[in-house]
Symmetry: C2
Subunit: 97 residues, 2 copies
DNA sequence: TTTATAGTTGACAGGATGGCCAAATAAGAA
DNA sequence: TTCTTATTTGGCCATCCTGTCAACTATAAA
C-alpha cells in the first residue's frame, strides 16, 4: 500500500511538468544548459512568462540556475525527469491502439 | 528535434494524471477493477467528485468502464501509466540528494 | 408501478494558473 | 555615474480546475 502523502508529492511533481512550455524547457535543458533568452526564442512568448516557468521548475527542484554576467543559465537538476517523456510516449502509443 | 504537438499531447496526458485523487485511482485500478463506490470509500470524498475524476481519465483514454446491474466498474486501459509512478519516485529520490 | 441503489450531469463558487505589461533589479560597459 | 542588456517581480485579468449540492438517469427489487 502506498502512502497518501507520496501521491501528493507525485501529483505536485507531475503538475510542475504538465505544461507544454515547461516540457519543452525540460527537453532543451536535457541537451544543454540554456539562458532565459534562448528558451524564450524557442518558446516564442514573453520573457517574463519563461522566467516564471523556470521559477516554478526551480521551486520543485527540477532545475537550477547560475549567473554569468547579466545572463542566467539554467540546467536540469534531475536528469531522470526525461524518463517522463519515455512514459508519456509509451502511453500515447498504447492508447492509440 | 521533437514536434511541438507531441509536447502538447504529453502535457495533456500529464495534466490528466497530475492530481492526488486521480493518481490514487490509477494505482487502485492497476491492481484490480473497481466500482465508483469502492473508489469513493478509498478517497473519502463526494461520489460525484469521483465520478468526474473518472470521466476525465476516460476522456483521456486512460480508463474504461462497464456496467453490471446498477454498478459501474472501471479498469485501466493503458497499464503502462504505472511507469509514471516509477519515474516520479525516481525524480523525488534524485531530488532529495 | 413504486422504491431503492449506483452513478452521472449541471450549476455554481472559490481558488489556482497562465500570460502580458510595466516597473524593479543585477551586472557590465561607457 | 549613467546607460544598456538580461532577468525577475508585481499587478491584473481571463481562463481553467475542483469540489459540492441538487437534480436526473439507469437498473433491479418489492
Amino acid at each position: 500500500m502506498v502512502d497518501r502523502k507520496t501521491f501528493t508529492k507525485q501529483a505536485k511533481m507531475l503538475k510542475a511538468l504538465a505544461h507544454e512550455s515547461r516540457l519543452m524547457i525540460v527537453d532543451s535543458l536535457s541537451r544543454r544548459e540554456c539562458s532565459v533568452g534562448e528558451l524564450r526564442d524557442m518558446l516564442d512568448c514573453d520573457l517574463s512568462t519563461v522566467s516564471k516557468h523556470l521559477a516554478l521548475l526551480r521551486a520543485h527542484g527540477i532545475v537550477d540556475d547560475r549567473r554569468e554576467g547579466t545572463t542566467v543559465f539554467y540546467r536540469l537538476l534531475t536528469p531522470c525527469v526525461c524518463n517522463f517523456f519515455i512514459c508519456a510516449t509509451q502511453v500515447l502509443k498504447e492508447r492509440a491502439r
